[in-house]
Amino acid sequence: MTMQETEERGGRGTEKLMTGTQAVAQAVRLADVDVTAAYPIRPYDGVMQAVAKLIADGDLDAEYIVAEGEHSQFEICKHASAVGSRVFVGSSGVGWMYAMESLAVTPSLRLPVVAMIGNRALDDPGAFGVEHNDAMSVRDLGWQLNWVENAQECFDATLMAYRVAEDSRVSFPVGIGVDGAFITHSQTLIKIPDQEMVDEFLPPYDLGDRLLHPDNPISIAPQANEDWVMEIRKQTDDAAKRVKGVIQEAHDDFKRIFGRGGDNPFFEEYMTEDAEYVLFGMGSLSLPAKVMVRRLRDQGEKVGFVRLKWFRPFPTEEMVEVLTRFKAVGIVDRDYSYGSPKQGGVLFTDLRAALYDAEVRPRLVNFIGGLGGRELTPEMMDDMADTTKRAAAGEDVPTVRWIGVRE
C-alpha cells in the first residue's frame, strides 16, 4: 500500500470535536464492547456517561451494570471477560485503589480487561487533579499500562488496548492512563474511522479453550499451595515478555490501516535529532514541553523531548538506544515515590534501572511537578531544560528537584 492510499484510508470516517473520555467511548462503540460496569468518580465518570449515552442512543448494544463500588465494578468485568464478553471498565484515584484486590487477580487470571484510568491524585488530601500514582500502583502485577497525550490518542490507544490485551500470546489487562482534566475534560478534533476499518484491525474476542462455559468445563482461580505458585507466576512472566512483540505487530497494523501512530509504538521523539539534552515524561505534560522545545530551538538550544507511551511493558532496549545519544536527560515525573533509591519519581527510578547496563550513560536529573493537577507551564519546562542543560555540561545540579512548589 502506498503512502497516498494510507492517507486516503486514514481519511475515511468522520472528524469530531471530543473530550478524551468521549473519544475513549467512541472506541468502545467501534470495538463493540459487550459488558461495561460503572461506578462514578471524577474524572473517569466522563467516559461512564459517554458510554451510557451511546447505549441510550442505540449506538452501542452492551450490558451496562452500575456497581455498588469499584471492587464489584472490576469483578463484574473480570467475570464477564472470563465468559467471553469484551469488557470496558475504568476508574480514577482512590476508586482505582478500592478495586485493588480485583486489579491484582485480573492479570493473574490472564483476562484481557481494558480499563481507562482517569489519572487523579490519591487522597489525602481529597483532590481531583492529575497524578500518575493511581495507575502506577499496579505496575508490578501484569497490567499493561500506557499514557496518552490527547483525545485522538485516547481513541487510538483504546483500540490498540483491545488488540493487544486479547491477543492469545498476551491475554493481559490493559490500563490506559488519561490525565485528569487536561485530557479527560478538554475537547480536541479527532478522526473516527468507520466500522469496517476497525473490524479489519480488531478481530473478535476469542478466549478459545479458556472460555468459562458449561460446554467447556474448567475451573479457574483455584487455591494452590507452594508447590504450584511459582510455576503460575513463571507462566505470567513468560507472557509478560511476549507483550512488546505483540504491541509492535499491532502498531504496524494500526499504522497500515489508520495511517497514524508515529514511528514506533513505545515512545515519541520530538526534535531530538541533534539534541544534546532532552526532557522525558508521560501524558499531557508533553504539550508545554513541546512549546518549550520549539522556543528554545529558536534560540539555538539543542534541546528535545521524549514522550514515553508504554510504561508497562517498559521498552528498556529502545530507551537505552535512544537516551544514550544525549548528554543529559531530565525526567519529569507527575508522581512521587517516597523513600525510593534517590527520593525521586517512579518513572525516574525505573529509567535509572533501565539505563544501568548501558555502556555510556547520560546524566539523569529528575523533576517532580504538576502534582494534584497543578499546571506545568512552558516556563517551568524552560527551568527544567536549563537544569538539564547544566547537568549535560557537567555542572553540579540536584538529582531531584520539585518544580513549582511554594517554599
Binding site: 490472564r110 479458556r210 468445563p217 475451573s219 494452590a224 507452594e226 510455576e231 507462566q235 513468560d238
Partner: protein, 411 residues
C-alpha cells in the same frame, strides 16, 4: 505440602540413605518430633506437647523451635494436622531446620488418634501419605491406642528399614478442645516419649519442666509416670506392616501446565479424584437400606455430596469423600437407619462401597452391618441444625423427648 525436595520426588534425597546412622546413636544431632493430631479438638494438645519438648531440651541447654504445618486447617473439626518440635544443641544446627514447612526426617512421630495410623492427607492434596513417610531409620512411631501391635500393623505402612512402634494404651482425647482439659494425655504422651526415646529428653528433664510450672501439680507428675510405665515398645523390622501403596504426585513444570490458572472441572456426576478426604474420618455412617424411607434428607444435607442415588432410589455412600461428620445420621428421620461406627472397624473394607453386597445378599449385608454397629457404635450428642431449623439427633441422642422444643434447649 511436602517441601525440601525436588518437584516430583517423594522424599528429600537425604532421607533415601538407608545406610546412615540413627539419631539415637548420635546424641548431638538435631532431633525432630511430630505430633499428628485432629483439628480442632487436639490443636491445643499438640501445641502443648511441642512446647514441652522444647522446654525439656532446655534442661540440657539445647535450643528448640516448633512448627505448625502451614497448609493444614487445624481450626476445622476432625481435620488431620501436624505440629513439629525441633531441638538442637546450638543455634547453627537449629537454624538449619527452621524456615521450613516440616522436617525432612522425623525421629519421633506421635499419632494422637489411632484412626489416623494409616496416614493422612495434607489439606487434601495429592492423596493420603503414610503416617510414617518421613520416619527416620530407627525412628519411633508412638500411637495412642487400645489396639494391639498386630492390629495396628495391618494399617501402618511398612518401611524399608527397621523402626520401633510405641503404643501408649488409651483413647484419643478429642473432647473439650484442650482449653481446660486435664485428662493427663499430654503428660502421659511426654512420659511415653521419655521412656521410649530418652535421646529426645529424659524423664528427669521433663519432670523438671513440670515441677517448674506452678500451675501443674503432683497429678501431672503421676500422669507423666503412668505414661512412662505403660508405653509398650515393639521393634518393627523392615518390610513389616501394611503394603505401602503411596505414590507421590508428579508435579508438572510450568510449560506443561495450562496457562491462566485453569484446571479441568469435575464433570456432572463425577467426583474430583484429587480431593479424597477420608482421613478426616474418625467414624463412618453405616446405612440400613431395608428401613430407608427414601426421603433423601441425607443426600440433601451431606456437605461432601457422598450419597449416590441408585435405580431403587436408595443412597449408598462413597466413602472416599466421606469425612465422617455425622450429619447424615443426625438428619435421618428413621431410628438407626444411619448409624455412626468407629472407623477402625473397617480396616478390611477400606473405602469400599458396600451396596453391592446388599444387592447381592441382603442377609449377609445385615449381618455385616449389625456386627459393625455392635463393635463400634458411636453415641452422638444431638445438636441444633441451622439448615433444617430443627433439633437433630435422630435416635442417637442421649435423651430425645423434647428435642424439637427449642426453648427448652436454649435455656
Amino acid at each position: 505440602m511436602t517441601t525440601g525436595r525436588e518437584a516430583g520426588d517423594a522424599l528429600p534425597a537425604d532421607q533415601d540413605t538407608q545406610q546412615g546412622h540413627t539419631s539415637t546413636e548420635v546424641r548431638e544431632e538435631a532431633k525432630s518430633v511430630e505430633f499428628t493430631y485432629r483439628g480442632i479438638f487436639q490443636k491445643t494438645l499438640a501445641a502443648n506437647l511441642c512446647k514441652h519438648v522444647v522446654m525439656a531440651a532446655r534442661k540440657r541447654e539445647w535450643l528448640g523451635s516448633t512448627i505448625q504445618r502451614y497448609s493444614d486447617s487445624p481450626e476445622r473439626n476432625g481435620i488431620p494436622a501436624k505440629q513439629f518440635a525441633v531441638i538442637a544443641p546450638d543455634t547453627e544446627t537449629l537454624e538449619g531446620h527452621m524456615a521450613k514447612y516440616e522436617p525432612n526426617e522425623l525421629d519421633v512421630i506421635t499419632c494422637l488418634d489411632d484412626t489416623m495410623a494409616d496416614g493422612i492427607e495434607s489439606w487434601a492434596w495429592y492423596g493420603r501419605q503414610p503416617i510414617n513417610v518421613r520416619l527416620r531409620r530407627g525412628g519411633t512411631l508412638l500411637v495412642i491406642s487400645n489396639r494391639s501391635k498386630e492390629e495396628l500393623l495391618r494399617i501402618i505402612p511398612q518401611k524399608p528399614w527397621d523402626w520401633t512402634l510405641a503404643i501408649l494404651p488409651g483413647t484419643p482425647s478429642l473432647a473439650g478442645l484442650w482449653v481446660y482439659r486435664d485428662d493427663g494425655t499430654d503428660m502421659r504422651v511426654l512420659g511415653a516419649i521419655a521412656s521410649s526415646r530418652p535421646d529426645i529428653f529424659e524423664m528427669s528433664e521433663i519432670e523438671a519442666v513440670i515441677r517448674d510450672d506452678d500451675a501443674l501439680g503432683d497429678d501431672y507428675i503421676a500422669a507423666l509416670k503412668s505414661g512412662h510405665d505403660e508405653v509398650v515398645v515393639h521393634e518393627i523390622k523392615a518390610g513389616e506392616g501394611a503394603e505401602d501403596t503411596y505414590e507421590p504426585v508428579k508435579l508438572p513444570g510450568y510449560k506443561e501446565m495450562r496457562e491462566a490458572i485453569i484446571v479441568p472441572a469435575v464433570k456432572v456426576g463425577e467426583k474430583n479424584p484429587n480431593y479424597r478426604t477420608s482421613s478426616d474420618r474418625t467414624m463412618r455412617p453405616v446405612v440400613n437400606f431395608d428401613t430407608c424411607i427414601k426421603c433423601r434428607q441425607c443426600w440433601i444435607d451431606c456437605p461432601d455430596e457422598c450419597f449416590d442415588i441408585t435405580d431403587e432410589e436408595l443412597h449408598p455412600i462413597n466413602y472416599n469423600y466421606c469425612t465422617g461428620c455425622g450429619i447424615c445420621a443426625q438428619v435421618c428421620p428413621v431410628e438407626d437407619c444411619i448409624v455412626m461406627v468407629n472407623d477402625l472397624e473397617f480396616v478390611e473394607e477400606g473405602d469400599k462401597d458396600m451396596f453391592p453386597l446388599y444387592k447381592e445378599d441382603r442377609d449377609s449385608y445385615q449381618e455385616w452391618r449389625e456386627e459393625k454397629i455392635e463393635k463400634g457404635r458411636i453415641q452422638h450428642h444431638d445438636y441444633f441444625n441451622a439448615d433444617t431449623w430443627a433439633w437433630a439427633g435422630s435416635g442417637q441422642a442421649e435423651n430425645t423427648p423434647d428435642r424439637n422444643d427449642r426453648t427448652a434447649r436454649n435455656s
